[in-house]
Structures are given as C-alpha cells and as structure tokens.
Amino acid sequence: MSKAIKKVEKTDVEKSDETTWAAKTYEPAVDIWETADALALAADVPGVTRDKVELDLRDDTLTIRAEVGADAYEGLRPLYGEYNIGNFYRRFSLGEVIDREKISADLKDGVLTVTLPKREKAKPRKIVVA
C-alpha cells in the first residue's frame, strides 16, 4: 500500500460554541487562497443543499454553517459505517478588509465556494515616484 493514499476523514468541531443542533457537527475541509483582488475559499460540505447554507460576516469573522438533511437517511438501518452524518460549522478571522457588498457564494456537488473581494483601499497600489 502506497503512502500516497489519503484517507478522507471528518474533523469534529471542538468548540461548537453556539450550535443547538441535535446532530453531530464537523469542521469542513477548506482551501483558502488570495489573489490581488480577493480572498477565496472552497469548503467540502457533502450532503448540503443550497437553502441550508448560512454565511455570516461580522467584523472580520466569517462563519459558515451548513446543515445536512436527514431525509436522505430515513428508513435506513446502518450495517457498516466509516463516516458519521452531521452538520458543518467553521469560523475564520479574515485579515483583509472585505467589501461585503460584493461577496458571492456558490454551491455545487457539495463544494461551497465563497469569493470575498477586497475593499479598494486594501488593494495593493503602486506609487510612482515622480
């Protein structure tokens, strides 16, 4: 067996400080990258539908909450399990000044993508010395 095989495992939320969900809560795996104009984030939230995603930006804290529908598991009796079903919750502190009017998000095949454009004054500016 090669060491290159990556077992996909979910991470439990350690401090689910404000959830009142009865279900388990996991931290979604994320990629965060920065371009000259924006911060972008991609999060794995399998089993989540569009209407169950909540994004909240308060001061410089971005919160992602995503709920997994239990309907898909109704009437099913577990025989063998490698993963548990639960909601997703994660918080980030953004170091950049974000233009909140221009934030956009998309959800496709269980991947949530968020684009957070930087505010004009936070963008790097070249100052030409005359």
Binding site: M1, S2, K3, A4, I5, K6, K7, V8, E9, K10, A29, V30, D31, I32, W33, E34, T35, A36, L39, A40, A42, D44, V45, P46, G47, V48, T49, A72, Y73, G75, L76, R77, P78, L79, Y80, G81, E82, Y83, I85, K108, D109, G110, V111
Partner: protein, 149 residues
C-alpha cells in the same frame, strides 16, 4: 501463520493480516474487502439496509467529484466504486493560505451482505453524495420448499 509474507511496509502487513483473518472466517462478511494500491484518496463509505433487509444502500461522501468519472461495478456480492476528484487551480496569480482538500483518483472494492440483482441497481450523485441502491437477488432470498408426499 506461514501463509503470511511480511514486507517492510507495516501498513501493508496489517492489511495482509486483516485479509487473511477475514478469509479464514467462513461466515460471509461484508464491508471493507480490499484496499487499493497506488495513489489517490480513500473516501469513506456507509452501508445501510432498508425495506426489511432486502435492499442495501451504499453511500459515499464525494464532494466535487467529476460525475463522468464515477464508475460502479458489481459482480455477485462485490461492488467496486471508482472515480476521480480534481481540485481546480485558481485562475491568475494566487497564493494559498490553507490547503486541506485533496484531489486524486480513488477505487474501493467491498463486499455486500448478499448477492444483488444488477438490473434493479440504481445510483445517484447529488450534493456531493453518491447513493447506490441495490436489491437482493432472487437467488439469494430464502425459499420455502414444499415437501411432496
């Protein structure tokens, strides 16, 4: 256990041992049967039963998997699920702050609790979850045999 050959890879040894143990048990087992060699991902699977045990439902969380790449194969009570996940590279100039998501190919083979009727098998991929529904084959169902006098 003379049939075990040990290698330098401790993980491989554990897998071999596990395989040998499951083969030596004559009761039909199911679940993880074989782990792939090579590179890639090992997505987690859940197996459920429904409708009084005549239906088995396999679910796998596969966010962002290319639908076209999904391959499902069934022989008897064995099921193979394979596919590929590509993480698109951001456009233009960028710098990663965090990278926790991984792309790659995956292939899992496992055994179901019974032989299935492959004509009735259905698979669905939505919201990043693959759901495969399989029904017990007629030949695997218990049958009453009448005694003729």
């Amino acid at each position: 256990m003379s049939f075990l050959r040990f290698t330098n890879d401790p993980f491989e040894n554990v897998m071999r041992l596990q395989r040998a143990i499951s083969q030596s048990v004559d009761q039909p087992s199911f679940g993880l049967d074989w782990t792939p060699s090579g590179q890639g991902l090992q997505p987690a699977l859940d197996i459920f039963e429904a409708e009084g045990g005549d239906t088995v439902v396999v679910k796998a969380e596969l966010p962002g998997v290319d639908r076209e790449s999904l391959e499902i194969e069934n022989v008897g009570s064995r099921l193979m699920v394979a596919g590929k996940r590509e993480i698109p590279t951001p456009e233009g100039e960028f710098r990663y702050h965090r990278r926790e998501r991984h792309g790659g190919e995956f292939r899992r083979v496992f055994r179901l609790p019974f032989e299935v009727d492959r004509d009735k098998a259905t698979a669905n991929y939505s919201d990043g979850v693959l759901t495969i529904r399989l029904e017990k084959a007629e030949s695997a169902k218990p049958r009453q045999i009448a005694v003729k006098s």
